[in-house]
Amino acid sequence: MVAATKFQSSYHYGFIDEATKKEIRRKTLKAVCIPGYQVPYSSPEMPISRGWGTGGLHLTLTLIGKSDVLKIIDQGSDASVNACHLRRFVQMMADCAVTFDTAQATIIQSRHRVPEEILTNRQILVLQVPQPEVLRGVERFEARTRQMHGEADYSKIWVSLYEAYVRFGATMRGSGYPIKVNRRYITTPSPIPRWDTPNLSMAHCLYLFGAGREKRIQAIPPHTPVEPLEFEDVKFRVEEFAGIRCSVSGESRAFMDEIFNGEGHRRHVINDSNFLDKLTSGERPPQRVFVNS
């Protein structure tokens, strides 16, 4: 029979073994040194499925200490089932405080949203990335895209934007709008809505991007210029919520969720759950809002 010692019941701090944590930290530093460059890393399997935030977990679990305050959101919400799940896992493994308050958090892990509230220089935003390769849509092979990045050969993605404009009258890029980081690498900021894209530029906080399944880390360090791809005459535009107000707070300047009730009637609610909570309690957190020209 199997000896009882064979099955361990406790885990190393931060789950991942120490040597691999070190390796991930080194790769993260490299990513910060080369803004927008995709750094390959070991990406060990986590007890959470690939595609559910493993890259974010690698970054969070290698950065975190017991004094950190963690916030995890999914689609802008602290309440999302996946956010609850990841929060509980990190809390179990890192023994840290957790919060829903954007301003209180030292590390925020997010899927598909940058919080509305302006982040400060003592905060790190960790974004979960499903597909780090912005050129994948125009070039399917990794060996080629790495070369294209090396040579700053971005003609194919420019052409794809132009072609979409010719066909539809708009660049038709939804979330994860392609950006140029620090005037060098074109990359994707993970599938955040275009609404959030301008907030990546010249921010006070550090943005880290973890793509677990694809084994890549990227960073946008503080005060780094980030430009969405646009033409002289066809400008980048954020989502428009013209004439729309949040049915809970009555506010209009935030990314909105569209909610349908049974009779096909629809209303809108501010997507960022903590931002909405603050508005309804009478606070007005600082916000940077981009206005379409």
């Binding site: 499925s49 559910w52 060996a143 990314f255 969720d257």
Partner: protein, 381 residues
């Protein structure tokens, strides 16, 4: 509002976890014991260890019990457990010529030195359900074991140790070469500690294939025989058995760790022949160096998983003749898409909410429709 909603999510998770455990147990039968799974679900364990990339039969058995036999989940649990373990050693190169063979067949020759050994296989069993199994008891099992053990002749057993390999025959004749391909990267990478880069060195390719999902790899291997790559290879040798494993410790001493069971397959084919012939034509003559050779595709995986080892051999051959028109001949296609934990995870991530990204797309479509410049072909709800 925030707090209540979060509480809701947490409760939902707790309830779902409890409910799935309830479904596992609601039949109210005796709990399946670890030693039962370990001994009677041998092949499921071998598969989980191979795909889970961790040779740990008890852990694999526990995983299988916990996940109600789902092969993807079992491999996933082993992989996650693996992350908590430090890599302290790399083993010395395993020598499969040292294998204590349980089963060994070759399709290239009618007879091979040492003989064909059918061994434990279901290949020639009739796939008929066996209601008699329902009558089995420990008593009847004992009777059966005694009968089988009665066939053994201990003095003969000692004579059998290891076997030479079938490909040694080809090598002696000079129709396969030990030469590596030009530009072959000989560095041994560790795909569990660094991200794979393309073109991937052969060590990375073989590691990825050895960890690949059996069904996914079979899809690739099968496609090579149906016109999507080099063609129908022949099994030079397929062997199953236990191979000793050694490491060199910090003081430089070789340490014997024990034996692990593996399946090894050498697929013999004509790919190298074709390439060598082409090169000969180009030069307008055929020098002795360029004479045709057989290619050998190599497959190796944990435990007894012959389908996987054979398919790995076929895919290895296919990958060495890159061809954009055959999926099995493209490294990126094969290696990324047969990776079980990644494929399984990402496929299931579709169940996560995507309403922010969807809203962003909807905004584009609505704006374009409104502008009335040109209608996109598919506008829905």
């Amino acid at each position: 509002m925030g707090y209540v909603a979060v509480k809701g999510g947490q409760d939902a998770i707790a309830n779902a976890n409890e409910l799935v455990e309830y479904y596992r147990l609601k039949g109210r039968t005796e709990p399946v014991r670890l030693d039962q799974v370990k001994t009677q679900f041998r092949l499921a364990i071998d598969r989980a260890m191979g795909e889970g990339s961790l040779y740990a039969p008890e852990h694999a058995a526990l995983a299988l019990i916990q996940v109600e036999g789902d092969s993807f989940e079992a491999a996933f649990h082993l992989r996650a457990y693996r992350t908590t373990l430090e890599r302290r050693y790399y083993s010395e190169v395993m020598n499969t010529r040292e294998m204590i063979v349980e089963r060994r067949i070759s399709s290239t020759f009618r007879e091979i030195p040492g003989g064909q050994i059918l061994g434990p296989t279901r290949d020639y069993s009739m796939r008929l359900l066996e209601p008699a199994l329902l009558q089995q008891s420990l008593g009847s099992i004992d009777t059966f074991l005694e009968k089988v053990q009665g066939y053994l002749e201990p003095e003969k057993l000692h004579g059998i140790t290891t076997f030479g390999k079938v490909i040694d025959l080809f090598q002696a004749e000079g129709i396969i070469t030990r030469e590596t391909q030009e530009g072959d990267n000989r560095r041994v990478v560790d795909v569990t500690r660094e991200a794979i880069k393309f073109p991937a060195p052969r060590s990375a390719v073989l590691q990825m294939l050895a960890r690949a999902e059996t069904g996914g790899l079979m899809c690739m291997g099968y496609s090579t025989m149906r016109g999507f790559a080099v063609g129908h290879g022949t099994i030079g040798e397929l062997r199953v058995g236990r191979v000793p494993l050694r490491v060199v410790d910090a003081r430089g001493r070789r340490r014997y760790l024990g034996r692990i069971k593996v399946t090894e397959c050498e697929m013999v084919g004509g790919a190298a022949k074709r390439r060598a012939a082409k090169r000969g034509e180009k030069n307008g003559r055929s020098s002795s160096k360029e004479r045709p050779t057989l290619s050998v595709g190599y497959g190796l995986c944990f435990g007894q998983n012959e389908t996987k080892a054979i398919c790995m051999g076929m895919v290895d051959t296919a990958l060495r003749s890159p061809d954009p028109l055959s999926p099995a001949s493209s490294q990126e296609f094969v290696l990324h898409h047969t990776e079980c934990v990644e494929g399984y995870g990402f496929t299931n991530h579709l169940k996560l909410p995507h309403y922010v990204t969807f809203q962003s797309e909807l905004d584009n479509i609505r704006r374009v429709v409104k502008a009335g410049e040109q209608k996109p072909q598919a506008v829905t709800g």
